[in-house]
Amino acid sequence: MLNSDELALIEQNPYKADFPLLANNPELVFLDSAATAQRPACVLDAQRKFYETMNANPLRGLYRLSVDATRSIAEARAHVARFIGAVDKQGTPQGNEIVFTRNASESLNLVAHSLGHLLLRPGDEVVISIMEHHSNLIPWQQICRETGAKLVFLRLDDDFRITPAEIKAKIGPRTKIVSVTQVSNVLGIENDIPAIAARAHAMGAKMVVDGAQSVPHIAVDVRELGCDLLAFSAHKMCGPMGIGVLWGKAELLDVMPPFLTGGEMIDSVSETNAVWAPVPQKFEAGTQDAAGSYALDAALSYLEEKDWNTLETRERLLVRYLTDQLAALDFIDIIGPTDGRRHLGSVAFNVGDVHPHDVASILDMQNICIRAGHHCAQPLLTELGVSSTSRASIAFYNDKTDIDRLVEGLKQVWQVFHGNR
């Protein structure tokens, strides 16, 4: 349980006022940030500022406005690189290792297609975990079908952990690619990526990480993780919808074939051939969302200004409080660890025998937003023996009142279904 100092911290909320949607709807309890976060005014302003002051097609223009747009993308790349620890020995951000995509899903599709065609031959194996979001599952199903490779799953023990024995058993000499989520979008648990990456590399495989649920909540350092590629979305970390990131080691991106082709990603083109532009442009066909990357840059600045450690500490307290409060309700079954210290962002649960869609609808009538369903992770739910769950997820702009309102809302759900029986 949280002590009085910790409770006092999450009772205060110095952040909500920065978020117009939350500030303008004081009755709204938004507990679905794992699906998409809210955005602070400074991010919305940045999007507008791009179009008002530097709007031109980046990369190809020879006039100053286009140069400004191009520079904004380069600055955003460098900022993202710094944010995830993609720096050289001198600490210089490696912006050329940052590929902008539409979202984490597109980043993972790019990797599966490009790395898959580069590395996979019949009989090879791709290892993922049973808890993957469909975005880190279906692209691998597809590329395995195309190349004749086999998809192998890391499974969880009874304590929701991928054990060292499981890692050793599943990742072996035939493994060419390992792709695992750092944090589960259902269970909220964090996987031991450095251990999985070490085994992958010992077997000569490449390590891909789905960071969609980790980068928004914890300081992620790609060198410490030991991965080769990392995918995440801006919209889950206060940035705009429609822009995502793929980070990759430069020497790997260099040898990976392009995914989408067309304008902006070539150096020269003849009737029958084309020479690719260097990375990252090689992976960015067509006009990019320059306003989006400019706004993502602003979102990262906002998070840094509020101090990343302060935000992470607050989120860990919020998710612990959420888990403790849910565990204290005898009609709630938490799907995942009941120790809030093991959760990042999300807690999945069921309200007795009440269907999660009814839970979400009755909460919605009380202005409380949660997610209900299979969370784009059907194989995980099948493995756990449930067809759907409810999920509450927090961000630093939530507070104790939000969670207390959820608890009251869930009591109301239980009352509707079981009050008079």
């Binding site: 009440v354 269907h355 999660p356 869609h357 009814d358 609808s361 009755i362 919605d364 009538m365 009380q366 369903g373 299979h374 067809s387 759907s388 109301q412 509707v416 279904f417 008079n420 029986r421």
Partner: protein, 145 residues
Amino acid sequence: METVNLYNAAFMDHVAHPDYKYQMDDPTHTHEGINPSCGDDLIFSVKIGDDGVIEEAAYQGSGCAISQASADMMADLITDKTPQQAIELCRLFMDMVRGTETDPDKLALLEDAASLKDISHMPARVKCAELAWRTLEEMLEDRGN
């Protein structure tokens, strides 16, 4: 609170004490409907008598309260109706939950099921409410084929 509008006592009574949720002996028609994304699964059966009238309706399966209550209300409504009348009621119900039919006089034909009209403001739940009706309509239109 708004919950009383939809999840009210009459609605919850259909969920907690359904009259038509059982395995029917000797149905003349049976059809399964599913909502894969929800996990709703419904098997609906009718017995059509020699006079061409639905003399018994029943369902089995699992799903959310809206899909279950809707099925129970529908089974009650279509008993003693002809298949053609039942198909017309199915279409009326689907028009109601999609918000394209709002005439209270017409909706009164749906009896208890008219209480689900607020579903038209809950787009994510339309397919839950429709499941039984869609299943019945498919079954009755396919009969004899």
